[in-house]
Amino acid sequence: MRGVSTHFGKHAVHTDLDLEVRRGEILAIAGGSGSGKSVLLREMILLQKPSAGSIKIFGDEIASLDEAATHQLRQRWGVMFQKGGLFGALTVRENVGLPLREHTALDDKMIDDIADWKLSLTGLEPDDGVKLPSALSGGMVKRAALARALALDPELLFLDEPTSGLDPASARGVTELILKTHALYGLTIVMVTHDLDLLWRASDRVAVLGERRVMMTAPMAELQHNDNPIVQEYFVDARGDARSDAHIQARGQTAASSPVSTSAAALTPVPTPSLTTPPAPHGR
């Protein structure tokens, strides 16, 4: 992405933003609420047009693609939405099989088999396949959504808040799933998240959004020692400090078993800058 600007009316979300994703890496886009993470993702997946600037995917400028090329591009990526975006009228298996049914000439039996296999890859039981998405828990919806995103074996995977709204255990499960998927398919992953646990364990590089641009793109370990105040405020808070060491190790061990401290730390409230003055001594 080069020189991308986005504004809604007078409100500028990005101005002159640059971002580069390398083939095969897991790039996380992080930033505070309202920093335009999701907007940026939507621009990459052709759901929204930036006000200015250029976005190239696989070397092609996406704004100038013709219809046929757009169709081709869309079949080379998988997208997982924050709310899952599973089709409520279809069963989970049909959801996963839908891209195959639409874009391939495979027969129904094979599509169902492939869908079941993708579901099992993401840790869902065969029984879950015949359920409707509304019967699934939050974590299962995310897994099913990931299975659908992987249906066409994409080269590029976009994840929007893959762990949001999940309890720590499910979030860890999804994190491991992302790492496993990445190892299995060797695909490029771009994810939007503000889950520090996920950032530490699953990202190769993190692009920090702030002041309407990408402030920096670097691995977590580097970001932690960065002295930019915005980066500092975002990452190097009490949580990050308490967990960093444990997590650098965890990432090294390909995260087979993660330290219990993650969930405990995630539950620790973040001390907010407080207006409270220390309690005065009783009486005078």
Binding site: I45, L46, Q82, K83, F87, E102, H282, R284
Partner: protein, 395 residues
């Protein structure tokens, strides 16, 4: 818990007692306004304070600020003290506690603050009564209407091009979805459409019978019921019922899909939502609505027949005999032809409003309402236009 109370023990010291919480605060807020407290430093003794919550701390802080007093908290439990200070910091930040619910201007003893508030009011009032907001309102409404019209045009264009594209690749037509829509929007609507049209036929014949009897022109009830049902009432009532049943369902369904990211998901897995959602609905209604109209024709005329027999003494055979002679086929075709146009309007508006849903459940409801209102309105407008055109063409 005892209710909250405040008592003055000496010039600069006040004792709090009871529970200063939302529940036990009672109406203390108002009398507190009037009660004076010395300016400057005072002491608030919290020894007998049983409980304090945000509301209690708020009332106290506002009271202190109104009198320009600074309090030293004595014998306060640390937690309550912390809360009190947090609230204090916030109310000071907001400056003059204008939005404070207890601070009714009437209860204001402080003349200076009072006059300040009056000034604010008198400054704000002329702006409100001037023409500018009205003009702005008109401008905004016009802009919104123009925006909506443009969006509708875009939607129509996109739907039409997608439909044309699909004609060239008929294998991509989603027959299952079309049939599903015919079942839901057509077959399942049969009972209600039939009953309504029947009752309408009864009403028309009944109203007509009364007038016709005066002239001894009883037999003309056939023309009355026949033409009015076939040309106007059957297509119109069917369209209105289907707009309420199916039009609303279309926009609620698509609207919900927008909220749950399903529409975005469709686009990203390279399935055109227009092709999957809009066209089968339009095609389904294009089949279902004329058929429903025919059904409404039948039950409506039957309702008229029943009424003609009981009120005017015209038997079924006699009625049908005259019906066959006098009613032209064109009346039937006009009604069915109109229903085709109504079908496009209802399905189109239903889908269009569904896609205009923004990211909230509230918006789904609003767009659904809008879709029903708009499609019924448009159906009636178009029906009126048809009447004019048919009149000119002498059909």
């Amino acid at each position: 818990m005892n209710s909250a109370a405040l008592s003055q023990s000496d010039d600069h010291e006040w004792k709090l007692s009871g529970g200063w919480t939302v529940h036990s605060l009672g109406t203390l807020g108002q009398p507190l306004d009037v009660e004076a407290c010395a300016q400057g430093d005072i002491i608030l003794d919290g020894e007998k304070l049983e409980a304090l919550d945000s509301a209690g701390a708020w009332v106290l802080q506002v009271w202190l600020q109104r009198h320009d007093a600074a309090a030293t908290l004595q014998h306060w439990p640390p937690r309550m003290q912390a809360l009190m200070e947090q609230v204090g910091a916030y109310t000071r930040l907001k400056g003059e506690p204008k939005s404070q619910p207890n601070a009714e201007p009437e209860a204001q003893p402080n003349a200076e603050l009072n006059s300040k508030r009056m000034d604010n009011k008198s400054a704000a009032e002329p702006a409100q009564s001037s023409l500018a907001p009205l003009l702005a309102q008109i401008g905004l409404s016009a802009y919104a209407a123009a925006e909506q019209a443009l969006a509708l045009l875009t939607f129509t264009g996109r739907t039409a091009t997608t439909a044309l594209n699909l004609m060239r690749h008929p294998t991509r037509i989603r027959w299952r979805a079309v049939l599903h829509n015919i079942q839901i929007g057509g077959f399942e609507a049969l009972p209600i459409v039939g009953l309504t049209a029947f009752l309408l036929g009864v009403v028309v014949a009944y109203q007509g019978a009364d007038q016709l009897k005066h002239y001894g022109a009883n037999i003309f009830v056939v023309e009355l019921v026949g033409y009015s049902m076939l040309r106007e009432f059957a297509p119109l009532i069917t369209a209105i019922i289907v707009a309420g049943r199916s039009g609303s369902a279309f926009s609620a369904q698509i609207g919900t899909m927008v909220v749950t990211d399903e529409i975005d998901a469709l686009r990203t897995i390279d399935i055109d939502p227009t092709e999957l959602l809009v066209l089968p609905k339009i095609a389904g209604l294009l089949v279902a609505l004329p058929l429903l109209t025919v059904f409404a024709d039948i039950t409506g005329v039957f309702g008229g027949m029943v009424m003609a027999r009981s009120q005017l003494g015209i038997g079924f055979y006699e009625f049908l005999d005259r019906f066959g002679h006098e009613i032209h086929g064109s009346a039937f075709l006009v009604g069915v032809g109109k229903s085709l146009v109504f079908a496009v309007i209802i399905a189109g508006i239903g889908c269009f409003q569904g896609f205009r849903t923004t990211d909230s459940a509230d918006s789904v409801g609003r767009q659904t309402t809008t879709s029903v209102v708009q499609s019924i309105f448009l159906v009636i407008v178009v029906d009126a236009l048809f009447s004019v055109v048919f009149n000119i063409l002498n059909i």
